[in-house]
């Protein structure tokens, strides 16, 4: 069971992410992503939206599979900037590792 945190989107702004709540989960990003077989980046964006911090930290390694190629950002119909969101989550995780 995941613990949700509605304030997480606000917290992510510290890491350069201000579009987390724009995403309406259409899946266009996952369809064009070179990592198509891994439900990426959609799953991580969903975790970010609901503030499932534990899931993000547990599966943090997945974030580094992203190639930062920008195809998801270019094709997103909501300008939710999925590529930058993943990069922001990396920053969040790196900061948490350093604090911990």
């Amino acid at each position: 069971m995941a613990l949700v945190n509605p304030d997480f989107a606000e917290e992510l702004k510290l890491y350069g992410v201000d579009t987390a709540l724009e995403c309406f989960n259409c899946g266009a990003c996952a369809a064009v992503c070179p990592l198509i077989h891994r439900q990426f980046p959609r799953k991580m964006i969903r975790y970010a939206q609901i503030g499932a911090k534990e899931e993000i930290m547990q599966q943090a390694q997945e974030l580094w599979r992203c190639l930062h190629c920008g195809l998801c950002t270019r094709t997103c119909p909501r300008q939710a900037n999925p590529g930058e969101l993943i990069l922001g989550l990396r920053r969040y995780v790196v900061a948490a590792w350093r604090k911990g």
């Binding site: 070179p34 580094w64 599979r65 190629c69 990396r90």
Partner: protein
């Protein structure tokens, strides 16, 4: 896949220590300019800023050869001790790398930088180069999410450039171009006039075309998408009478070659690379690209691939 924490720790340590990701002395990494002779700096002339990316490819190849063997093995865990490389003297790491990197590989990538110089000179572009003003941009730290490390390094680079009163910069690769043009102003407030070399070329229009085989363009993600510069290399090819064919995923919708995954998962890189190579092979024409990471990655597959600068310089001569 390696633990990204270990990779980031190792890279951040190396960059803090030597200002490049490999932990080798800059004087060993950056040697391309030596045979080129001196460069005179005239007032207002832009600095040629290589970002040490082409020079780093033989070192990257040597590193990934070992990472490929380590990935998935019990030895991969020991990578976490990589951050202790800060206790190793730079010259020792440099010596290890010189044993692992072939002279021919270094010459090949250094030759691309000399071709860029030659093209700019033939285009009448007034520019200068000084190895003490040429640094790695820190882009890998940014891509891996080490924002603190990236900003610290970017401040160091920007401070050195400002100290030398550098205002205009000519870049040679998409990653450095993106870092200097977009990220430095955004994150550390340092702005320069940044242009990639191929936008400055003024090439002669040949009579009746060049008669050479068409090439397939592999657009790097950062030129094609992030910087919206997919048209400029095509214009340059056209102006030299060189034909090109497009693949299905090109320009702003280009497919990634997988190179960015190389540091954390060489296996993932191979998977993505295989798919891109299949797309490029479909054209049947030799490939041309303009990114050192893409070039090195595509070369691994045995695909006939060449850097844009080498092709342009050779075509101009003929």
């Amino acid at each position: 896949m390696f633990n990204p924490r270990d990779i980031i720790g190792l890279l951040a340590t190396n960059i803090r220590k030597t200002r490049n990701p490999f932990g080798v002395p800059g004087s060993q990494l950056n040697t391309w300019w030596r045979p080129a002779g001196g460069f005179t700096r005239r007032p207002g002339a832009p600095l040629l800023f290589t970002g040490l990316m082409y020079q780093a490819i033989p070192y990257l190849e040597a590193t990934t050869r070992y990472l490929e063997r380590l990935e998935g093995s019990p030895w991969a865990e020991y990578l976490r001790f990589g951050r202790f490389s800060r206790y190793l003297p730079n010259f020792l790491l440099g010596r290890c790398f010189s044993l692992l990197t072939a002279r021919t590989g270094k010459e090949k990538f250094n030759g691309i930088l000399r071709s860029i110089c030659s093209l700019l000179t033939k285009s009448g572009v007034d520019f200068f180069y000084h190895p003490e003003m040429d640094f790695y941009s820190g882009i890998l730290l940014y891509d891996l999410g080490d924002q603190e490390g990236f900003e610290e390094h970017a401040r160091f680079v920007a401070k050195a450039l400002k100290l030398h009163d550098v205002k205009k910069i000519i870049t040679v690769d998409p990653h450095t171009t993106y870092a200097l043009k977009e990220l430095y102003p955004k994150y550390i407030g340092a702005s320069f006039e940044v242009e990639p070399y191929f936008t400055r070329l003024r090439l002669p229009v040949p009579e009746g075309g060049s008669g050479s085989r068409p090439v397939t363009i592999h657009d790097p993600c950062f030129y094609g998408r992030y910087l919206n510069l997919a048209d400029a290399p095509r214009q340059v090819l056209r102006s030299l009478g060189l034909d090109y064919v497009e693949v299905r995923n090109c320009g702003e919708f280009t497919s990634c070659c997988g190179g960015p995954a190389e540091s954390v998962s060489p296996a993932l890189n191979r998977e993505i690379l295989g798919r891109r190579v299949a797309e490029l092979k479909a054209s049947g024409a030799p490939v041309v690209t303009m990114c050192p990471i893409c070039l090195a990655n595509l070369l691994k597959t045995g695909l006939p691939v060449e850097d844009l600068a080498s092709l342009l310089d050779r075509s101009w001569e003929t």
